[in-house]
């Protein structure tokens, strides 16, 4: 157990000194996660809204697929994107493999169903009288939509936070698509996997602490936001 204790000591030293590029790794993680969440939100929020407010053929099917995608293993997403962007893949010419861009694509695919499905249930959960009330007050279609979004805002924020928590903590897609290149695509999760393999527990534990705090923070924020809907 000695080595664990030493590892913890080393972790605290690294966190304070910032040596071994701890904060560069944290920076890459946050950059990739935030970029992916932004792209996923731009697509997922409107998708969730339309699924909740419009009636069309195949709606149930789309909703079921969306909920199934929530359980998508991250390595499968990694495999899928890898096959597209590897040199022999259809997008191979873009030379994306082992770049932050590749990771953002993978994490976006991971985040998209989460954002869309949680947004869908956020709109489903709001009171059915909201649109009617807006209409009786003379709202246009766009104003009615804006009112609905405003009333569902906490649920929507919770959807984004939940997706962020999943993306920042996953390792499969990040490893396969980023390749764990130091200073470029090395994230907290891939670094922890590599460092513990090497027996370098100090850096792994230091990153583990930050990752844990980030995940806890996102989760607390998520439940706090959901609490507004009661």
């Amino acid at each position: 157990m000695e080595y664990l204790y030493n590892g913890l000591q080393e972790a605290v030293r690294l966190l304070i000194s910032g040596e071994s590029g701890v904060y560069t790794i944290v920076g890459v993680s946050v950059f990739v996660a935030v970029s992916a969440i932004l792209v996923a939100s731009v697509m997922g929020l409107p998708a969730g809204y339309l699924l909740a407010t419009r009636r069309f053929r195949g709606q149930r099917f789309v909703t079921t697929v969306l909920n199934t995608l929530l359980a998508m293993p991250t390595v499968v997403i990694g495999l899928f994107v890898y096959s597209l962007i590897s040199r022999r893949g259809p997008l191979g010419f873009m030379e994306l493999l082992y770049t932050p861009g590749a990771m953002i694509i993978g994490e976006t695919l991971l985040a998209l169903p989460i954002v869309a499905a949680f947004t869908l249930s956020a709109f489903r959960a709001v009171d059915s009288r909201i649109s009617e009330t807006a209409l009786t007050l003379g709202a246009t279609t766009a104003q009615t939509a804006r009112t609905l979004i405003s009333e569902a805002r906490f649920g929507i924020m919770a959807a984004v936070v939940a997706a962020f928590g999943r993306v920042i903590a996953e390792v499969g897609a990040a490893m396969m698509l980023g390749g764990n290149i130091k200073g470029s695509t090395r994230t907290m999760t891939t670094a922890i996997a590599l460092e513990s393999n090497k027996g370098e527990f100090g850096l792994a534990i230091a990153l583990g602490i930050i990752l844990l705090l980030t995940a806890f923070g996102a989760n607390i924020l998520f439940h706090w936001l959901q609490g507004f809907d009661d």
């Binding site: 009288r129 003379g138 104003q143």
Partner: protein
């Protein structure tokens, strides 16, 4: 129209530009709507005039909410049309529907307040109309003052009590200065004190602004206290217009079955299964009139199926569609021969008439088909016998 805010976008609305006609502001023609549950609303003719207050009176499930939702265009009627100032609105383009909704607003029975402050809630209708910030500020503050919520302006709307929320909803509807205000049971979910307050606000504002108000209620006394005209609904249909024969009374058990003791001092036989204090309805189409013979017998004539026969005087007659509407005053001043019937041997027949201890009588509205009216030869001032079946005397 001496409102100082006439420069706001509400007044600039293209639909307000039309000339004010003397005709009804809203007309409903052959409105019909069916639900999967089997409920069927069918309102043949509805005309609402500017500046009047209407009460839509009926029990739960009679179709009041459906009718109001249709008039607010929240529910599009499956059949029929709605005319606003003579021009059809349902089936028109969305822009026209919106213009209509900006002049005809609905306050739902269970008000939904947006997740924002009381001020923002009341301001929302004006913001939808793109009104300038200063104008909104002034109007909303004035309206909050009027409903007694000014001190709550910057509180979250969800912190209000039920009665306060209802007033905030009313303020939110009134501040847009609608031509027609539809209210679905505005006082049903608040306590009596808040109910009184809401009635007072309505009375004051609507008189000031010559607003048309349509309010649904299941309280008979509220309907008659507030409204210029009461529209009675039952099973999705509107009963004939004009004062329905609704009286306060008590249904009691007697040796010969249930009797209804009306507050006017008249007792009627009834088939109703209800007991205790109630509002009693006698359909004006189920009263049969007959002229008494030139030389009256000791009693009014007995018809085998009539459990109640009253004697009265025709005080008014008017044409109402294919029927004639007669007002019959069966008051105690009439020197009729029928007293409280002590003759128990007379079986199911019961003579009902003015009594010495009765402070007042019954003012009945009777509808008679035109054809049969012509044959009866009744005119205003005539004494008539009115026969009412026990089955026609119902608790409302």
């Amino acid at each position: 129209m001496a409102d100082p805010m006439t420069a706001d976008p509400i007044a600039a609305d293209p639909m307000t530009a039309g000339p004010m006609t003397a005709g009804p502001i809203i007309v409903g023609e052959h409105l019909a709507h069916r639900y999967g549950s089997g409920f069927h609303l069918h309102v043949e003719n509805l005309a609402l005039y500017a500046g009047k207050t209407y009460a839509v009176y009926g029990s739960n499930g009679s179709g009041k909410t459906t009718l109001l939702n249709i008039l607010a265009l929240l529910t599009l009627p499956q059949e029929g049309r709605i005319l606003f100032e003579g021009r059809p609105v349902n089936g028109a383009d969305p822009g026209r529907c919106r213009q209509y909704r900006r002049r005809v607003t609905l306050l739902m029975q269970h008000v939904y307040l947006f997740r924002s402050t009381v001020f923002d809630n009341v301001a929302s209708g004006l913001r939808f109309r793109g009104m300038a910030k200063e104008a909104i500020e002034a109007r909303v503050t004035g309206m909050l003052d009027k409903v007694g919520l000014r001190q709550f302006a910057h509180r979250p709307a969800h912190s209000l009590s039920g009665g306060e929320a209802q007033r905030a909803g009313l303020a939110r509807a009134l501040v847009t200065d609608p031509d027609v205000l539809l209210l679905d049971e505005p006082t049903a979910s608040v306590d009596a004190a808040h109910g009184k307050q809401i009635e007072a606000i309505l009375a004051e504002t609507c008189r000031q602004r010559r607003m048309t108000v349509v309010l649904s209620t299941h309280q008979y006394d509220q309907a008659y206290r507030i409204a210029d005209e009461v529209l009675t609904m039952r099973d999705g249909r509107m009963l004939e217009k004009g004062p329905e024969n609704v009286f306060r009374g008590r249904i009691e058990e007697s040796a010969d079955g249930p009797v209804v003791k009306l507050d006017g001092g008249v007792t009627l036989r009834s088939d109703t299964t209800a007991r205790g204090p109630a509002h009693i309805v006698i359909s004006s189409q189920e009263i049969r009139l007959a002229r008494p013979p030139a030389r009256p017998p000791a009693r009014p004539p007995r018809t085998p199926d009539a459990a109640n026969t009253l004697t009265g005087v025709v005080t008014a007659a008017a044409v109402d569609g294919d029927r004639i509407r007669l007002d019959v005053d069966a008051g105690p001043h009439l020197d009729a021969e029928a007293g409280p019937n002590s003759d128990a041997a007379s079986g199911p027949h019961m003579d009902v008439g003015p009594r010495a201890d009765a402070p007042s009588g019954l003012r009945l509205t009777v509808h008679v088909a035109r054809a049969s009216f012509a044959g009866m030869g009744i005119t205003v001032g005539d004494t008539v016998h009115a026969a009412i079946d026990a089955s026609a005397v119902r608790a409302s």
